[in-house]
Symmetry: C2
Subunit: 147 residues, 2 copies
DNA sequence: TGGATTTAGATAGCAAGCTATGCACATGAG
DNA sequence: CTCATGTGCATAGCTTGCTATCTAAATCCA
């Protein structure tokens, strides 16, 4: 079992590699923008507001990761935090006008990159690919849950 | 096109999510170990030596990323750098005995996690999944090459 | 009501990824 | 031989991800 074997048939290796290529392809199209805010853009693109916790859940990242992402986005004028009147620990996060603008651009880039990737698949393979990834994600989350 | 659509059918989103789950699943099994050295382990598990550049190429990461990974591995006693007698800019990197031991453990964990993931697929889907990922990687690398 | 527990977020510290840039050594052209 | 160019690696500085831990507010229960 040599490197070539591992490189070609390790699902983890290939998945990590593909994920980095996706992120870089999107970032090249965003001229200075990064791909980290993408899940926040998608979650709030309709003008809605969410708590940090809800955003972390949707993005499937840990709370401190989302906290840092939101701090950078706030620093860059992309989101605003409005204190929750019902819970003084919490704040509702929403996109600023600049954030909405960037969200739309990010959406365009994401769709374009997604298209480049799925063009490498046969039409009937595409749904299958999503399905397989979702099953793998579910299996690995079960593994994580079982300690 | 709402969040739910994006979450379920964005190849980039799903791939990034799966990649993080793979890395965490391996790290949970390595008790303090990290998944970054994995490509180095695989490349050098047979006792061979490579330059940093060769390792970066095999791992498909940039040179500074590999430089940092090797620094951490050297700090932790996993690799040694031997000056190249033919080129004073370069060094040959090889695993220490401790590094070889960790490499074998990492290999076992990687195979186990890979098994958990591929068990979520039908046997005939497995080769297909690797093939699709490889085609997507190739497409995104072409995109990167074309600026 | 008051204390224990839960929950939302903040903070610290690290790994792994990237780009940009600098330096020293190697190499090739004249 | 010398000088321009190329190459291998190091460094700086950033983002995104993680775990561990803290604080403060909310909630639950006796």
């Amino acid at each position: 079992m040599h490197m070539s074997y591992v490189r070609e048939t390790s699902a983890g290796y290939l998945t990590n590699w593909a994920a980095r290529l996706f992120a870089r392809a999107i970032e090249r199209r965003l001229a200075g923008g990064n791909s980290g805010p993408m899940p926040v853009f998608f979650a709030l693109q309709d003008g809605g507001a969410m708590t940090q916790k809800e955003l972390a859940l949707l993005a499937a990242v840990e709370q401190p990761t989302m906290a840092n992402t939101l701090n950078r986005m706030e620093r860059d004028g992309l989101v605003q935090r409005t204190p929750d009147p019902n819970d003084r620990r919490s704040a509702r996060v929403s996109l600023t006008p600049l954030g909405l603008e960037r969200a739309r651009a990010a959406f365009v880039s994401a769709i374009e990159v997604n298209g480049i990737a799925t063009d490498a698949l046969q039409p009937e393979e595409r749904e299958q690919f999503y399905g397989m990834l979702r099953r793998i994600i579910a299996a690995l989350e079960r593994d994580a849950g079982a300690q």
